[in-house]
């Protein structure tokens, strides 16, 4: 017998068997097997909040047959029309157990739409009541981020206020930061030993704020190093950071009045791969034997490899990072470590520029503001009022 023939026979047998089974079921059960599922109810449609239009949010109550019921619901189909009477076209399908979704399929703004949700099982379906009309709108402001905006404005205002006070010549106190005092000392000891200093500005890109802070510190370091006529070696992980580092170091040498001592080949690119970079910097540390190693910026697991290799060469080491996971290792293996916010404070502290010192004052006020918020939140929450805490929800929903 040919293949096609066998196939045909197989199919007909299956059909026969299938209809027998169906008959059997129909005979045995009083109810027909194909009862349509009960519909989804309470369909609510509204414009998706806080977006730039083109989207409608739907929510409904699950069909009684979803989960608890006969459990034969497979999915829900979302259908849309521009008129309450249809025709409705299918927009998307969602799985059983889902009770909300958004329609973002070519939704025009400011046009009336009507929706229905169709509950489907294996062989039949039940539409819900039609909901609508609903219009998608453009929101010109994202209310869900109002709290973020307010804090941004408050913080900016605080910073600008204290900076302007500093500009007017007001003396602002900044406490001593042990790691930073050591920085000058450490950089100064390199020339005494006739050795170079090494500065690693982290292994991240310039878009990392920690890298930017590191570059600011590098600027101060370069000036000190130039004063002492020492070499400053800066291996880089990122080409853009390298470019910025070159600018900053050159400027530092110029500020110290020694532009001719600046060597561009000492601020160079290595590779943007984490461990190959570490392998190369380890090599530099054991071959050039810098008297001072500075690891400042964003670091990952390589922190301890760098710091331990540096320690083995007897260099004075200062680290600074906001990578919380790496701080323990720097603290263990380096002489001083700038912890988290100290890294950011450092650039202000080093330059002693009034503008930057003013911003430290603003930072402290913001800290007090947040501690105050924590206290108010604690008190209000524990007397049974959760409203204050909900001001810190993300996204903010209390104004919806």
């Amino acid at each position: 017998m040919s293949f096609a023939g066998a196939r045909l026979l197989h199919i007909s047998l299956c059909v026969l068997a299938g209809s027998l089974v169906l008959c059997g079921q129909a005979l045995c059960q009083s109810a027909p097997p194909d009862t349509p599922p009960s519909p989804a109810t309470d369909l609510v449609v509204k414009d998706t909040p806080d977006d730039d239009g083109g989207s409608v949010t739907l929510s409904w109550s699950l069909s009684a047959d979803d989960k608890g019921g006969a459990k034969d619901v497979l999915s829900y189909e979302i259908r849309r029309s521009k008129s309450p009477d249809g025709p409705f076209t299918t927009i998307k399908k969602v799985l059983k157990g889902t009770s909300s979704t958004t329609d973002e399929k070519k939704v025009e703004n400011n046009v009336d739409y009507y929706y229905q949700v169709v509950t489907k099982d294996a062989s039949s379906e039940t539409p819900s009541a039609v909901a609508g009309p609903v219009r998608a709108h453009v929101q010109w402001f994202n209310l869900g981020r109002l709290n973020t905006l307010l804090i941004t404005i408050l913080y900016t205002a605080l910073l600008l206020y204290f900076i302007s006070r500093a500009k007017k010549g007001e003396k602002l106190f900044v406490r001593r930061i042990a790691g930073l005092d050591a920085l000058d000392e450490a950089v100064g000891c390199a020339p005494e030993m006739g050795k170079p200093a090494l500065y690693v500005p982290g292994i991240s890109t310039i878009s990392d704020v920690a890298t930017i802070a590191s570059v600011n510190i590098l600027s101060g370091v370069a000036r000190t190093v130039a004063d002492y006529d020492t070499r400053l070696i800066v291996p880089n992980f990122d080409p853009i950071v390298m470019t910025v580092a070159q600018e900053v170091v050159r400027e530092g040498y110029m500020a110290a009045g020694k532009p001719e001592a600046y060597r561009e080949e000492d601020v160079f690119y290595v590779t943007s791969s984490q461990f190959p970079f570490v392998a190369a910097v380890d090599g530099i540390m054991v071959r050039e034997r810098p008297a001072t190693n500075l690891f400042i910026g964003m670091f990952f697991a390589e922190s301890l490899i760098l710091a331990e290799t540096g320690a083995s060469t007897g260099a004075i080491q200062i680290a600074g990072t906001d990578a919380i996971a790496q701080l323990p290792f720097f603290i263990a293996a380096c002489d001083y470590t700038l912890i988290g916010e100290e890294l950011y404070a450092a650039s202000a502290y080093l330059s002693r520029a009034p503008l930057l010192l003013g911003s430290l004052k603003g930072q402290d006020w913001m800290k007090m503001f947040l501690i105050g918020c924590i206290f108010i939140g604690l008190v209000t929450l524990n007397v049974g009022f959760a409203g204050f805490k909900s001001l810190f929800d993300l996204p903010l929903t209390i104004f919806r």
Partner: protein, 227 residues
């Protein structure tokens, strides 16, 4: 021109980026700007390349210390670039997706085939060196602990006691010592959480103020501009 224009560019880009997170219709700027930054950083790789080649070529020319090893770097670089480009552009290589673990973490690379052993070199030279460099930490974590964990000061004592308890609590032996598993869990859940949360808020303040200062042009060291 040299000083003011960059500051204006920085300010405008920063304000637009900031605004788009509050004003939904400005979202298009976000998508575009990220692609722009990506393109710029890709082009910047050429600057890195030039720097690297210049450094090693100079070493070779001057016969500086270890100049022979610089030849290895230059040859490896040249070979990988050519192999990568030829693999993709080569007419005789039929493309079909092949994936390898990326250089940092889980980045997935598709679309390269193993002509010129591009993939083999990556998998058998770069990956093993990376893994081995990473594993050096097992040695260094021990030597750092030995050297640094001395009860010289009160703070150092805290560091060493907490580390010792947690280390003990992590291995089966510690589970047989009364109180160690509980103490380990407590230290990790309570003081550790508190310290991290406090540090994190501090970092958030520092980052935001640095970013704001740069956006507003108050901090301009990065441009190599002196006040």
């Amino acid at each position: 021109m040299r000083r003011q224009v960059p500051l204006v560019i920085c300010f405008v880009a920063g304000v637009l980026m900031l605004a788009q997170s509050f004003v939904p219709p400005l979202n298009w700027f976000y998508t575009n700007a990220l692609a722009w930054a990506r393109i710029i950083s890709c082009i910047a790789v050429f600057i890195g390349l030039i720097s690297l080649v210049r450094l090693h070529a100079t070493k070779v020319r001057r016969r500086a210390a270890d100049w022979k090893f610089s030849i290895i770097t230059l040859l490896a670089l040249l070979y990988m670039m050519l192999a990568g480009l030829l693999t993709r552009y080569g007419v005789f290589v039929k493309l079909h997706g092949q994936c390898v673990p990326g250089s940092m973490g889980d980045k997935i690379v598709t679309g390269f085939q193993n002509a010129f052993n591009f993939q083999d070199i990556f998998l058998n030279i770069q990956i093993p060196v990376q893994a081995t460099m990473f594993s050096l930490l097992a040695f260094y974590i021990a030597s750092a602990a030995f050297r640094a964990f001395r009860a010289r000061t009160f703070e150092a004592t805290l560091l060493l006691v907490a580390a010792t308890i947690v280390m003990l609590g992590r291995v089966p032996v510690g589970h047989y010592i009364w109180g160690v598993p509980q103490a380990t869990a407590w230290i990790l859940d309570v003081p550790n959480t508190a310290a991290k949360r406090g540090i994190m808020i501090g970092i958030g303040l520092g980052m935001t103020s640095t970013a704001l200062k740069i956006m507003l042009g108050i901090e301009r060291t990065y441009l190599g501009i002196k006040d």
